[in-house]
């Protein structure tokens, strides 16, 4: 899949883009005229994934797992139920599995066949997650992919790659950064990046919080 797509903003490559603009508008018009869709539902769907469902959901789950040992145990035993107790689930999150990063094991998630991703806790996937470079290399050269993200793990760290081939959706639970003792869940959640929950990053350190 063309991975240079993020350079194609409206002001560049105008003809290709306006072609897609025209084609999507034409189809939407037809579907409205035929009564197959309600345009207000289309707007609602877009707004939901732009504003309501995103990685802040997952960050809440991770932060809770850092302060609440019982929740943490439940999360790794039954991710769907534990995450559901915080109100997250449903589409691309009906069957959730949480993966624990430790000093000796690093988990990372990919979908080599398409773009499966835990929408319910992370929102829609970033472009790189859906791109050919990430989908092709993660299963064969995970350390090389981590290097693209500026992450170098110790040589003896075990790397576990999870290829999302079914309807299970994986959420990586990064390690809690040092120097955060006594922090509130809300403040801890600010350290949890999207990439740390995919496994292509780690949680921020307190000094990275600005």
């Amino acid at each position: 899949m063309a991975h240079d797509h993020h350079h194609d903003h409206d002001h560049e490559h105008g003809s290709e883009l306006s072609d897609m603009q025209l084609r999507t508008r034409a189809l939407e018009t037809i579907l409205i005229e035929k009564g197959y869709i309600d345009p207000a539902a289309i707007d609602e769907l877009i707004e939901t994934y732009e504003k309501k469902i995103g990685p802040r959901n997952g960050a809440q789950v991770v932060a809770k797992s850092w302060v609440d040992p019982q929740f943490r145990k439940w999360l790794f035993e039954d991710g769907t139920a534990a995450i559901g107790s915080l109100g997250f689930g449903g589409r691309s999150g009906n069957h959730l599995v949480a993966l624990e990063n430790t000093p000796s094991v690093h988990n990372m998630v990919v979908c080599t066949l398409c773009s499966c991703y835990p929408w319910a806790v992370l929102g829609l996937p970033p472009l790189w997650y859906k791109s050919a470079p990430y989908r092709s290399r993660t299963v064969a050269d995970p350390r090389g992919v981590l290097a693209d993200f500026g992450i170098a793990l110790p040589k003896d760290t075990e790397i576990r790659v999870w290829d999302s081939t079914a309807e299970l959706r994986y959420l990586v639970v990064p390690m809690r950064p040092a120097g955060t003792e006594g922090w509130s869940e809300e403040k801890l959640a600010e350290l949890v990046t999207r990439d740390s929950m995919i496994g292509t990053g780690v949680a921020k350190s307190p000094k990275e919080l600005t």
């Binding site: 037809i30 075990e158 079914a166």
Partner: protein, 219 residues
């Protein structure tokens, strides 16, 4: 199908390029392509596996040259045309020219959150027993169906270990063809990096895939 979508292990695509502060969508039309696809699934009468097959089912070169939402949009158009929900002349005209087909349940704005919250669970009840248990060694079958499958090429013929019995889940290989949900036991199977990639494999890495029982034989 052995198409452009089955990318695991391919060389030559270059580095991963994360985009700082990436927006959820990169153009207005991407939003429309995304939301139209979600909203049309129920009135259109297709399931998630048919949707995936419609996206991957094109020449590999074409698939790789298209952007993500271009693939989504092309699949939406083709699924609508196949079901006579929209005709080619209407797409050309940009307007409805023929009597609409009767569809069930048009998505209303009030139902959006409810429908998303329900999602699409794929686990099904069964009175069968799983053939494998955690710790069993299994070989992924060598299969090359020209239709939809979720067994990636890079694990076919390789030996792994059952890590987890997940449950009985809808089988995409039949569901994508409209041949029934045909629920099958689903397992997490873990493969060593060296088993998958030989001397080029990372000895500290393993790869786990979720594989349905029909994909596996004892090893």
């Amino acid at each position: 199908m052995n198409g452009g979508q089955d990318l695991g292990g391919m060389h030559g695509f270059g580095p991963v390029e994360p985009e700082p502060n990436e927006p959820v969508f990169h153009a207005e039309w991407e939003k429309r392509a995304f939301a139209l696809t979600l909203a049309m699934a129920r009135p259109g009468g297709w399931n998630i596996d048919m949707g995936r097959f419609a996206r991957e089912n094109r020449p590999a070169g074409e698939y790789l040259a298209m952007s993500y939402y271009q693939v989504w949009f092309a699949a939406l158009e083709s699924m609508m045309k196949e079901r006579d929900l929209v005709a080619e002349d209407e797409i050309a005209a940009g307007h409805s020219l023929h009597t609409p087909k009767k569809v069930e349940r048009v998505l209303s704005p009030a139902d959006v959150l409810k429908v998303l919250h329900r999602g699409g669970p794929t686990e099904r009840e069964t009175n069968t027993k799983p053939a494998f248990k955690p710790g069993d060694r299994v070989r992924a079958k060598t299969i090359n169906p020209p239709t939809h499958t979720r067994l990636p090429r890079y694990v076919r013929g390789r030996i792994g270990e059952i890590e987890r019995v997940i449950g009985c889940h809808v089988f995409p290989d039949t569901n994508s063809l409209g041949a029934g949900e045909n629920p099958q036991w689903l397992y997490t199977v873990r493969f060593d990096g060296r088993e998958l990639w030989g001397p080029q494999g990372d000895p500290t890495a393993t790869v786990s895939v979720d594989a349905w029982e029909p994909y596996l034989v004892p090893a």
